[in-house]
Symmetry: C2
Subunit: 143 residues, 2 copies
């Protein structure tokens, strides 16, 4: 399963004229295995476990390259580091502003809102880039 995702990504990278280096393969493997909610820092650590001298800047540059190809996106879940994730399975991030808990919800929930914004403002929603803040069930219960 994951092998296929890995290959899909590497092929796209290659097809765009990019090169598959050890560092890139290791990074892509790390993202595929992490499968969501990983910071550049997390990825750097994972990659460095097997390839100690892959530098943070390489991580960032490769993530940039993957984003430009539309294979990866990053989301700001709060202040501080962004998290990166693969672009299949479109979903939103609900983040509890008190405990930090992250809930993934399917994109379709945002459909009605997206339609309203389209009709009323001509605005085409692409809400994935920032998290949606609020309170999770537990934190909403305890004041």
């Amino acid at each position: 399963m994951d092998g296929a995702r890995l290959e899909r990504i590497l092929s796209a990278l290659r097809a765009s004229g990019g090169r598959i280096t050890t560092a890139r393969r290791a990074l892509v493997t790390a993202i595929v295995e992490a499968d969501g909610h990983v910071t550049a820092e997390d990825l750097a650590e994972t990659v460095q476990r097997s390839h100690p001298d892959v530098h943070r800047s390489t991580i960032y540059r490769t993530l940039d390259a993957l984003e430009e190809l539309g294979l990866v996106d990053h989301v700001h879940l709060g202040h501080g580091r962004a998290v990166y994730h693969l672009l299949d399975d479109p979903h939103q991030h609900l983040v509890c502003e008190r405990c930090g808990h992250v809930i993934e919800v399917p994109d379709e929930l945002f459909r009605p809102l997206a339609d309203d914004l389209q009709k009323g403002y001509g605005f085409r929603l692409r809400p994935n880039h920032f998290a949606v803040l609020g309170r999770c069930a537990e934190c909403a219960a305890t004041p």
Copy 2:
């Protein structure tokens, strides 16, 4: 009108045990006059026009104080600086990810979504902290 807002904010600040200094009065005036979408940098510049040695750190500290009192909030419209705004008139920010244009829309538009999230996930939406990205009408029209 704005005088009333100014006084309301200063009173709240005073009531919480805070002191009204020249710097604080100037900053609050600047926010009231700017009325939305101002960065700390913008505010610093405005304040410094009349009070050149108010330092950036004072701006940030005062904004913090105002946020703690629930008088002001800040929103991340994109990468880089956050923007600050007064907390009356609850609204959302739609930001065009291509041209950067900001559209304010009333909170009520998010009511149905908020209800869905509440029902389905026990999640209480508080969406104001991050902007909602997408494409404005013009940019959506031209590919």
